[in-house]
Each structure stands twice: as C-alpha cells, then as structure tokens.
Symmetry: C2
Subunit: 564 residues, 2 copies
C-alpha cells in the first residue's frame, strides 16, 4: 500500500531534491552514516572528502582568509571553490542549506580575480571571502523560501511577483561591494520563531558535533554550516536568540547587535511590522575577530544611506580603542575590569555543562583579579515575559497565513500559539511595560557601581540557554536570550567547551524553580549530550557593539589559553 | 438666573485661579486690553510693565544670557527675577502658563549665585539660565495637568500616587545639573493632539503678535511665552509638528530632533506606548544658536545613561565642523550647497504670506548661487496619510479616557476621532507602510544628485503650515509637518517674516488641489492675518541635527541681513 502524497509534500520534496541537484555530482556523498554509526561529523570526519589544500583554506577564519585574498595570495576562485565543496558535504551530512548557487559564486569570484589581476588591488576588505546567508536575505537568481512550502516559486508567498529571483537585499548589495562572495543560503525553522531548525522542505538541521542534537535556531543552518567549516562566516538574524543560540550550540561565535546597526532593508521576515521588539541582523563566524571584520566592513558601506531603519552610526573606533586600552591596563590593575554574572534566571537552572562553562569563565576572570558581581535573576525574568507577550500580539496570524499558503503541516518547534489579537491599546501598554523594564534594568546596571565599589560593570556574562545544544523537542525556555532583545543590548555568543559525559554527570534531585525547571532538569542525559558545544553570552550596553566585541575577544583568548 | 457650574468647571476654575495667584501681587496687571484695542502685545506694549534692566536681560537670547551668567556678570537671581516678571505679564496677556514656581526658581538661582561666589565657577554651561517647560515635564513641587481637568491634584490622572509633585523628569534633572533654572510650565491643548492650544483650565493661548490668532500647538504656551520674551528658551515636544508650528507661529525658532536624541524619560504623554511615530523632545528659543546651546548642553549630560530610549549619540562635533566648513566654502563656490524646496504638498496651497516667505528664502539662496531643486509633492502626501492613520490606531481611547476622568467638555481642536481600535496585524501593516515610505523618500533624496548634477541636496526647505499663525478653529491640514515625524528627520523651524496686509493680498480664485485646499484658500483674510509670524522648515537627514542647526543658522543670518 502506498500513501498518496499531498501537493504540499510533493512541492517540498521537489524543492528538497532541487537543492541536492544544485550540488555538482562530483561532490555528492554516496552514503551518509546513521547517527548511531557517526555522531560527530566535524573535523576528521568531514576531512575525508577534502584535499589538504581545501582543508587549509576552509579551516582558516574569515580574517585569515581575507588577509590572503586581499593580498592576492589566495585566489577568490580557489577559496570559493573550497567552501562550495565543503558546504556541499555539510548539507548532505546535516541538512543546513536552502539555496545553493555555487556557479554564480564562482563567476563572481572569477570576476574578483580578474579585477585583482588588472588593478593589483582588492575590491574591498572582504575581497574573495565566501559568505553564507540565512534564508531571509534575497539574492538575485535564487529563491527565498524561509522554510515555507508556500513560498516556493513565489516572492515571499506572492505568486507572479516581479521581484522573485530578482530582488537583492541591501546587505547582499553591500557585501558584494565589499568584495564578498555570497554562495549559499542556510536553513531556518518554519516561521523563524523557534530555537531549533526544522521545516517541511529540508527536514531537520542536525548539530554537526552531535547529530543526536539540534543545531539551534532560528539561524540554525548558519550555525551548523559554519561549525562544519562549510562557510567561514555568515549573517543571521536574532529576535529572541536566533543568532546566539545556534552560535553557542555549534561551538562558533555570533553577534546580536542593537537594532539599527546592521541593515535589514529588503530582507524577508516573520511578523514584519511588529515593532515592539525588532529582529536584528548580525554575523556568525569561527572567531570573534571575524565578527568584527564583518561588522566593521558592513558599517563602512554606510548602510543608513540606503536603509531607513539603520542608524547613522559608523564603527566607533574610539570605543574600540578605549576598551582595548582598558583591557591592557587591567593586566596591571585587574580591578579596572568588572563583570556581572547571572548563574540562573530564576526560572530554569542550567544543566551541568552550562554551569561548568559559567564557572570556568567566572573562575578565569576572578583568578586574574577582575571583579565579578552576581546578578539578581528577577531583572531577567521580567524581560522574558515581555518578549513572550510581544511575539504573540498578532495571535499567530502572520505565521498561520504563510503556513496556509500551501496547507503544509505545522511543526511543533514554533513557540507561537494561535490566539487572540492584541489591540492598539494593549500593544501600547506592552510598549510602556517594555520601556519601564528597560529603565529599571539600566538603573540596575548603573547601580552595580555600589557592588564593585568603583564603576558599573563593563559587561554581563550569562548562559545562552539552560542546556548545551539541545535534544530535539526539548528547548522549553528561551528566557536566557530573549531579555536581551527586549533590552536591545548587544550580545556576543562565545564558544566555551563541549559537554563531557565523564565530567558533567547528572545532578542529584534538587528543589525546582518552576515546572519547566523540573522538566529541563529531568531531560539532562550525560550520554546523549556528550560532545555538545556550550557557549555563554557577553552582553554590553546598548549600541556598544565595539566594546562587546573587544571584551568577547579578550575572554575567548583567555579561554583558549586555558585549554592549552 | 445663574447657571450651576459642574464639578469639572469648578475644578478648572480653581486651578486657573491658583495659577494666577501664584503670580506675586506686584506683578498682576489690572486691566488686560481687549484685542480690538491692542492686537500686538509684544515689544513696546509689554515694555510698559518692565524696567530698562529687565528689558535688557529679557531681550538677550539664551546664548548671550549664558555668556553673562557663566562669567558672573549677571547674577542668576537678577536674570531669573526678570524672566519671572515678564512671564507673569505674558501669562496675563495670552494665557500661556500652567504652572508658576517663581519662588522655587529664585531659590535655585540664589543657590547658583552662592556657588559661583564660593567657587568662582559656573555650575554648568546653562548656569543661571531660566528655562520654561511644556506641561508634560514633571517638576518637583508642582503639578502636571497637561490641560486635563481630571489630572488636577493627581499624578497623570492617578489619585494618591506618591509621585505627585515629587517626580522629576529626566530632562529636568539634567537641566538642573547644567545650571539651568526651571521657572514655569507652559500651556498645551487637551490631548496634545492639536495644532492650537486650548484647554478647559486656562482657556485659549493667544498669539502675542496678533491676539486674533492662535499660538499654534501643541507647544503653544512655549511659543507664545518665548515670543513675549517671558522665557529665553524652553523645551517642547513634537509628534506631528508640535514644536515647529508654535515656533513658526510666534516668530521664534524650534528644533524637532530625530527620535532618540533628547531624553523623554519620565515625562507625561498622550497615547504613551504608541511607537509607530514617537513624540520627541526639542528646544524652542529666540535664536538658532540658542537651540544649539540647549541641544548640545543636554547631550553633554549623556542622557542615554539614564533614559533607555535615548541613543548613545553625543554632539557630533565633526558633522558640525564639516557643515560650517561647507558653508564657508560655499561663499567662494556656491554650487557646494544645494537645497530641495517644496512649494506645496499637493493637498493645500499655502496662503500668500507663506508663499512670500518661501520665495524670499528661495530667492536669497538662488541669488547667492546655491542650487535649489523643486521637490515632488507626492513624496510628502504619503507621509501625512501614514501619520493620520497612526494617530488614530487606538480609536481615541487614551484621550477619551483622560477626558472622562473629570467629565470635562471636549474641545474642537483635537484632530483625533473616536473610532475602531486597530489590531496587531493592522498596526504591523502600518509599520511596514511607514518603512516603505521612509525607504522611498530616502531613495528620492539620494536621487536628487541627478538634478543637482553633483551630490544629493543638503536640506529641504518647506512651509510649516499652509498659513501664518492661524485663526482659531482654522487649522485644517497638518501635512506640512507630520511627514517629517513619519520620516523621523530633524527639522528646524525658522522665523522668516510677518504677514503684511499691504503686501499679502488675497489671491484671485484659482483651481484647487482638494476640498481642504479650497477651504483654506477661502479662509485667508489679509486684514486679520496682518502681523502674523511666518516661518519655514529646514529639514535634514535622520540624526543629523548638527547639520540642520548649522544650515538653519546660515539661512537665518542671511534673512536677517536681507532685512537690514
């Protein structure tokens, strides 16, 4: 007996097949081992498909690559081809791509090489650097489905729209100006409002370090692809944790900037026009310095001249320099740097690997004499409540409408519930609530000077989630990231370590902060989580991305030294 | 037969009486002449009540005053007392004050003088400068009614709220730090959503230049008081023209900054939490350089450290310098400066005095060789439509609720209509519409380089309203200001001239752009408008307040030279 496939299933399957077929035959993998046979597909495992030269190129970070390509030491074509190859393998291993446009990318790369040969100069600071893009950004020549079956063959769900495969998002235009080479678009969960990445087109995007686990979301394809070094760097978006969660879950780095720093113009979105909490664009990469390269490069394009939502705020050289000096001075006088730390948010206690990661960072800071102040969980819970309300103001209408386009099955990961629409007065009340929360938090931050005895803390350190890269269906609490979106503070996700079954034993039963705390506690399993990456966040004051990047780099460096 | 007064009428009358009684007896005016007897109460008329020294002090602009007070040449007490006296007369002539706290102000001034005597230094750049405040800002010791009878004796309508007469808005705190002396709060229309200033407490705020006419709104009390030199400078707010309209109507200057530059924290507001178009705080004064003094001084207080809605954007010294250099260079090479001009917005043609003011500015610029490009009205209309929709999203609920507190009579000036609430989806659609408008306008601005042949225009010049200071009940079209709020561009209102019955004859009948155009046309009357101030706007790119101020000063100076 064969079951009839519904039209949406057929459309999804055709699209899934088309993605695969966009991968050159020579790069197809005959057999993907089941997870029981091969849990971790990074590093040594994926190397089997690559030449030594490809490995050398793809394991360099974006800064190293750009230093070679802008000097003409590596050609744009060889770099692009290496990443196309590796991305092709990555997708076959973990389902991380929505669009594959290697041919276009190689053509762009050839153009860059020709230009370099002619002028002896790079096109821009990102000359020849391949860049992956979350499947919200429009790229000429390819579709944007954002995981919706109903968007296949349309422009954001609109049939016969002339912008289909023609429009290009502002960010993409700027990346091209900078010499970057967009080459693929990465997977997202249907609706974007999920912390795992799954949709009816490509299925589930698995965590490359441990294919039992999720790659996080909603920029899960970015996280997984970059962890597999199928891309040196890419751009995601974050409205509740969607850059930081996949960065942390995949052992890479990500920056959620404050709203208005990176251009969102001309990108697709969920719940477009909901402006209580704005989704923001930010980079993911394999090093903090690569995040800085991308962030700074995009700002050099003055995106505010083309995107009305971007603030006229160039890269703040002075804040960067000031922070670098502060870090340097703190070698002699460690009291100069101080941090707030959130051990738990009063709702869910972190799993043992996350506790360990926090302890490691805290211990490292304390051992160097820096001040670390414990923060009050109550200031964090309130933010999450506002975020939850905000995401549900339209009662799920936008998401349901896009799902209804094809009649596709709904996926369980989405954390939006169908319900009543809020009216203007209710939204206004929520906006006031948000402002009062922002004010209370700002005062709280300023008042930490009483605890440090000198000045307010420089940054906040806290978990990204209660767990390392999570087991499918077990992401129940986004409170560790969503409050940051309500505050609109910049936050960097920093990769710290991997869960280790021999170290991170399940804890004995304890008192619980909430029902969800109990549930999360019970779901910990040292065996299954083994190898799962764990990251932390470093959060700064609003619009101080430069300081966050400098401090995050400082911490990442200390951690790297520690592990030597 | 005597009519019984309703409780709200009694409450309003008691408050009106209390305001008068807060004015020292020695400053009471026995007889206010009817308008038929005395149209213009500025200058010579008000001088009869003042000593030569008081006149000297009060006719200096804020910059001149601060230069004397910060050097100890004028005492804070003598300056404050002079302005208190003149403000007291002003209020009796045109009903421009809601709160009078001269005693507190004189105490603050005495403290400043004592501090100067002790240290030999001013407290800050605004040392001893009296500042008036629109009655949205909370000041310790006095009420905030915002014109609502139901707010009398409450905190924003809440009875027994401990913040009543205790809370102080962030801006006020900063002004005190800077050495300024808040001394009175100025009148606003009930609901704030009106371009004339009238409420059931103080009645109608008349235009001091011509008491047949309106002082504009919603910062009408500020405009009228400053025009009478009852205050050297003050702060208003603007969500649809509420700083620019009263500045222009009263022959003074005003700046509507982009959202996020001046602190709104802790101020009362209408429709708080409506965040499609944000109301903004900005200065009004008798010179552009005074606007700069206030704007720069407040930024030096780093308001973003206490107000989560203020952007971490200090005064941009570089943009100011760059613009000053551009202006200087344009003396030699006038092609360096270029302006867009909007002659009409496609909905309502300006009255003869406004046409004349525009022609004067355009002619002055052209005669100096600067480029002037005519702008397309269609780009302006769309903005006004979005503003109108935005202000009506809550169907008037917020305004009606505050009116209902006392059951007071509704006033006809408010341009909000009771109606249906928008839901979250409708608001999101509106927000997207707004962004698309902002994008189209930004592209349009950038494309003016095609018309100038060099670079895009530096600024836009356009009317503030279709008319000079308007006749009561005849402000029918706010489209000349509201599009700026949708775009969130900085705009300075520049005083240009006064209507003159011998020059500005009514035009012959002509074709009309709309019904409202016809209505406005028919309402022109050269006799009644005689003496009414006319201003124009100078609009810059978002967050470029420094450039707007520099260019506005340049134009104001040229106009002043012209009139010599």
């Amino acid at each position: 007996m064969t079951l009839e496939k519904s039209p949406w299933q057929e459309a999804a399957e055709a699209k899934r097949q088309a993605i695969l077929e966009a991968i050159p035959k020579k790069w197809r993998v005959e057999r993907i081992p089941p997870v029981e046979e091969q849990v971790d597909v990074t590093g040594g495992y994926i190397h089997q498909y690559l030449s030594p030269q490809e490995i050398e190129i793809t394991e360099a970070d974006a800064v190293a690559i750009a230093s070679h390509t802008t000097l003409g030491e590596w050609s744009a074509v060889e770099v692009t081809e290496a990443f196309c190859h590796r991305a092709a393998i990555a997708h076959q291993l973990v389902n991380c791509l929505h669009e594959v446009f290697f041919e276009d990318a190689l053509e762009v790369a050839a153009g860059l090489d020709a230009s370099f040969a002619k002028t002896g100069k790079p096109t821009g600071p990102l000359h020849g650097l391949p860049i992956s893009l979350k499947d919200q950004f429009h790229v000429r020549g390819v579709e944007t489905t954002m995981g919706y079956v109903g968007w296949i063959g349309t422009f954001e769900g609109r049939k016969d729209d002339p912008r289909s495969k023609v429009a290009e998002s502002e960010l993409v235009r700027e990346l091209r100006n900078l010499g970057a080479v967009p080459f693929c678009k990465t997977s997202v969960p249907t609706t974007l409002m999920a912390a795992e990445t799954a949709n009816n087109i490509i299925g589930y995007t698995w965590n490359p370090r441990n294919r039992h686990l999720s790659s996080g979301g909603s920029s899960g394809g970015e996280g997984a692809l970059i962890a597999l070094r199928g891309s040196p760097a890419g751009f995601g978006t974050d409205i509740g944790g969607s850059i930081r969660v996949p960065a942390a879950f995949n052992g890479v780095f990500g920056l959620r900037p404050s709203a208005g720093r990176m251009p969102y113009e001309g990108a697709a979105n969920s719940m477009d026009g909901q402006n209580t909490i704005l989704s923001v664009v930010g980079p993911l990469a394999t090093s903090i310095r690569s995040l800085r390269l991308l962030f700074k490069a995009v700002l050099s394009e003055k995106p505010w001249m083309s995107d009305p939502m971007t603030l006229a705020l160039p890269w703040k050289e002075d804040l960067d320099t000031e922070t670098q000096k502060l870090i340097l001075a703190s070698n002699e006088n460690p009291g100069l740097l101080s941090f707030g730390i959130l051990h738990h948010d009063g709702v869910v206690q972190p799993h043992p690997p996350v506790k360990h990661a926090l302890m490691l960072v805290e211990g490292m800071l304390r051992s160097r004499g820096h001040q670390v102040v414990s923060l009050d969980p109550r200031y964090f819970q309130a933010g999450h409540e506002i975020a939850t309300k905000t995401f549900n103001t339209d009662g799920g209408e936008d998401l349901l409408r896009h799902i209804a386009l094809s009649g596709e099955a709904q996926l369980p990961q989405c954390f939006i519930q169908a319900g009543k629409q809020s009216n203007a007065t209710e939204i206004a009340v929520l906006n006031v609530q948000k402002r009062l929360y922002q004010k209370a938090f700002l005062d709280y931050w300023n008042n930490t000077s009483k605890e440090t005895g000198t000045k307010p803390i420089d940054a906040i350190i806290c978990p990204v989630a209660p767990h390392a890269a999570v087991r499918p269906g077990q992401f129940h609490h986004t409170g560790y990231t969503s409050f940051v979106n309500v505050l609109d503070y910049p936050s960097a996700a920093i990769s710290v370590m991997n869960a280790d079954r021999s170290v991170h034993k399940a804890e004995d039963a304890r008192g619980f902060l909430s029902e969800v705390d109990k549930r999360v506690y019970l779901e910990y399993d040292a065996e299954i989580y083994h190898g799962a990456p764990v990251g932390i966040q470093l959060i700064g004051r609003r619009l101080e991305e430069e300081k966050v990047l400098a401090l995050a780099e400082f911490i990442a460096k200390q951690l790297a030294d520690l592990q030597l």
